[in-house]
Amino acid sequence: MTDQTTQAPHNHVELLSFRVGEQDYAADIMSVREIRGWTRATPLPHSPAFVRGVINIRGTVLPVLDLADRLGLPQPDEGGRNVIIVVEIGDEPVGLLVEAVSDILSVATGELTPPPDIAADQGRTFVRALTIVNDQMIRVLDLPAVLPDVRFEAA
């Protein structure tokens, strides 16, 4: 999966950018396993609201998180969000429900700046770095932070 040789040259990272709640986010492409369309998820009882449930991906049970909900962003209409990005966090695959996948960006590591300290911003903890591409601000997700805390308690 994570073939080291596909790393972009000259200290660049490749990012998959996508739209969530009308904002641009990105994740390290090395964590992305696949992108697939929305299928109805089986809800998990007693789970946080941002956990949309589980879907079947070729015989594996894949949990799906509603990223907009998780990031505290406004949730557009159901029809607007129809892509699941399957990422690997730790060793476990997790599906992230987003509105649309935009692009694959190659960004120099030097151009990634840590987010400024804004204590009040709830979404801050999920963002690992910020960068500007084509005049657009891209927020690089801190994937492990996206998972519910319970995982770390249970581990």
């Binding site: 089986t42 009882p45 049970v61």
Partner: protein, 748 residues
């Protein structure tokens, strides 16, 4: 060497696998002696097991193991020679030695060694048993001949000096064991090939085994011995002419040599008046030295067997297949103990193969996918609305049956007898019994019962704990037993068996039974129950499983290890199992564990609640019924009960309990599933409808979200959707019980 590294690693791995089998037969043998069900062959089996371990260990340069096995073997040889009777302390020592042997193997497997201090005592005990004989035995030992399979070159430099002194005694003991029989006996010509030694066999022991059967005279033929400068240390240049007594038949002889078949040149002539001159083979054909050609008596070995056509009865080469057919290099060592073990024609063991567990798991997964796929196919065919008896429906039915039996067969691959697990428990019993100074006999029944490998693995810890408890707490002290008129030796019985699609394992002791007043008092002291609580006997017994219950006043270094019975219960429940206790004061206690046969599939009922398909394990559903007005009874503000014949059960709405909906206005005409609890009580789980009853493939839920209350696992239904497999017992235990909208406030 570099080329051989992989092959070496494989051979090494198979050596350890074989050692497990050897230890098993060693343990069996010792158990047989302990339970006084042994016969004269038993000690030979024990001896050969230890010997084969030693032989193999020598090949891998595991000196610590070789040394220990050697001492052990020497002591056992005393028993074989009739100089020592295996009983009492001697037998206990043998048991401990077997345990240490197993520890040493484990250590060797992990490339470590045991601290010699841990087995010093046993070692000196064994040495004491062996007495003065030891030195002599040492001199006869063949260790210099055991070759490092993968690395011959350095051996060339080292061995020549050692080989000649090592060899001559070979014929010594054999000669000593039999008187010359003149020409009335049979004649055997035996020349070992290199591979024979590579597999850890030794001619001496073959001859000894033969000498046990008949009078034997042996003559070592050294004609082929080349000059030292030409000597290939990896090849045995010696051959032997053996003269047997007249009282032995070809089959018995062939049986002795069965496991070196193909690894030696072997000719047997039945008793004849004349001993024909047997020409020694000028030069033994040496098979290519790569280790993988050393595999068993299969294709490679066949040419080596030379049953002379004129011999009265040819050795049973063709109709006595090696008991183990292995996919990998399979040294002959494990088979050796069985060689002479059964003098009467042995029941042929079924041929088996060793397969990497990963491959099996992959197969299991694939079949799981197939089952899901088949279900999807059936579903789409049903939707097409085929005429009845259409060829496709028929074909699909057959397909379904085939899938099902395919799945059953595949699941059976993972099933393993509980024997190995039980044998480990034998060791626990001995250890604990020694520590608490009790005389305990472990009886095992139903060892051949097969359970899924994972279940067995995960059962080891809880079972160990329960066995410890049984010996430590279950059985009384020896004095108390005698005072109660019981035999001094306490008995712990471990049984396994199949009961209505589940595996039941019972651990029972013949001790004093559960001291219920004391248990109750402890529970009150620990504030687990109210002082006034009315508890039935079985309620009190179940207190043992409560978290925080530890009979602190009797915590010893054995049982009070911080693992309470609640942990045991949790571990067993995690396997889909249940524990129950029955206890009769003065007669003993019995813990019964009921487990599913496999963790991969489940007979489930697919139900729908609040629009969601959910799966409930069929085995906890006692009854299903449609809710009628006459059955409903309101109780309290938000709860209702269901009247079922003479009893009542709390009514629980599955949709509400799962958080999918708020309680409905009315549950009339919904379906209620009666869930049976271990303690005999029941609850009624209401669902919207029953969809199907089918076998489902269990898919684990990741622990991304921690443990979800009430959810055991997930499965994939025919339409590709995931359905959650519920744990109804968990649901009913943590249920809110809300089945009514409170009249004044809105349900939140």
């Amino acid at each position: 060497m570099a080329d051989n590294t992989d092959a070496m690693a494989e051979i090494r791995a198979s050596f350890f696998t074989e050692c497990e089998e050897l230890l098993e037969s060693l343990q069996d043998g010792l158990d047989a002696v302990w339970n006084e069900t042994s016969d004269e062959e038993t000690i030979n089996v024990i001896f050969r097991a230890v010997h084969s371990v030693k032989g193999g260990a020598g090949a891998f340069g595991l000196t610590q193991l070789v040394d220990f096995a050697h001492r052990y073997e020497t002591a056992l040889d005393e028993v074989r020679a009739g100089k020592l009777v295996p009983e009492g302390e001697v037998l206990k020592l043998f048991f401990r030695a077997a345990d240490i042997l197993s520890d040493l193997l484990q250590a060797a497997k992990e490339d470590g060694e045991l601290d010699p201090a841990t087995f010093e005592e046993v070692l000196s005990g064994l040495a004491a048993l062996a007495g003065g004989e030891e030195e002599e035995e040492e001199a006869l030992d063949f260790q210099p001949l055991i070759l490092d399979i993968g690395d011959e070159t350095p051996q060339l430099a080292e061995l020549p000096g050692e080989l000649p002194p090592g060899l001559p005694p070979l014929s010594g003991p054999a000669e000593g064991e039999g008187d010359a029989q003149g020409d009335s006996g049979g004649h055997i010509y035996f020349a070992a090939e290199k591979e024979l030694f590579l597999n850890g066999n030794e001619p001496l022991y073959l001859f000894r085994a033969l000498a046990d059967l008949t009078e034997l005279t042996s003559r070592c033929n050294m004609d082929d011995l080349p000059d030292l400068s030409d000597l290939d240390p990896a090849v045995c240049h010696l051959s032997w002419d053996l003269t047997t007594g007249a009282d032995i038949d070809a089959a018995a002889v062939a049986e002795v040599f069965e496991f070196v078949e193909g690894l030696c040149t072997f000719r047997h002539r039945l008793p004849e008046p004349e001993l024909p001159e047997l020409p020694a083979l000028p030069e033994l054909p040496v098979l290519p030295g790569a280790p993988d050609t050393a595999v068993g008596a299969g294709a490679d070995g066949e040419p080596g067997v030379a049953p002379a056509p004129d011999a009265g009865a040819p050795p049973q080469a063709s109709d006595a297949p090696a008991p183990k057919l292995s996919t990998d290099q399979d040294a002959k060592a494990p088979a050796a103990p069985k060689a002479g073990a059964q003098k009467p024609a042995p029941a042929k063991p079924n041929p088996t193969i060793r397969v990497d567990l990963e491959r099996v798991d992959r197969l299991v997964n694939l079949v799981g996918e197939l089952v899901i796929n088949q279900a999807m196919l059936s579903q789409s065919v049903t939707e097409v609305d085929m005429p009845p008896n259409a060829a496709i429906t028929k074909g699909l039915d057959e397909f379904m049956q085939l899938t099902r039996s395919l799945q059953d067969s595949v699941m059976r691959i993972r099933a393993q007898p509980v024997k190995a697990l039980f044998q480990r428990m034998g060791r626990i019993v001995r250890e604990v019994a020694t520590e608490v100074n009790k005389n305990v006999l472990l009886k095992t029944e139903g060892e051949t019962t097969e359970v899924d490998k994972t279940v067995i693995e995960r059962l080891a810890d809880p079972l160990t704990h329960m066995i410890r408890n049984a010996v430590d707490h279950g059985l009384e002290s020896t004095e108390a037993r005698l005072a109660a008129g019981k035999p001094e030796r306490g008995t712990v019985t471990l049984t396994a068996g199949h009961r209505s699609g589940r595996v039941v394992i019972e651990i029972s002791d013949d001790g004093a039974g559960i001291n219920r007043p004391k248990v109750r008092q402890i529970a009150i002291d620990k504030k687990l129950i109210e002082e006034t609580a009315e508890l039935s006997d079985s309620d009190i017994d179940m207190l043992l499983f409560m978290p925080g219950f530890s009979t602190a006043s009797e915590v010893s270094n054995l049982s009070g290890r911080g693992v309470g019975m609640d942990v045991v219960k949790t571990a067993i429940q995690a396997l889909g199992g249940r524990v129950s206790i029955t206890s009769t004061p003065g007669q003993g206690t019995c813990f019964s564990i009921s487990l599913p046969l496999t963790l991969a599939v489940l007979d489930g009922m697919v139900v729908e609640a609040a629009g969601q398909a959910l799966v409930l394990p069929l085995n906890v559903i006692e009854e299903t019924m449609t809710v009628e007005a006459a059955m409903l009874g309101e109780m309290g503000r938000e709860t209702q009960v269901l009247r079922i014949r003479e009893g009542f059960a709390p009514l629980l709405d599955l949709g509400t309990e799962m958080g999918f909906r708020t309680p409905l206005e009315s549950y009339l005409d919904h379906v209620a599933l009666l869930i049976a609890h271990e303690d005999g009580s029941r609850s009624a789980l209401v669902v919207d409808r029953i969809v199907d009853q089918r076998q489902v493939v269990i898919k684990g839920l990741q622990n991304t979200f921690g443990q979800i209350p009430g959810v055991a696992a997930a499965t994939i239904l025919g339409d590709g959707q995931i359905a959650l497999i519920l744990d109804p017992l968990d649901i009913t235990m943590n249920a809110s019980g809300r089945t009514r909208q409170p009249s004044l406030s809105l349900a939140g």
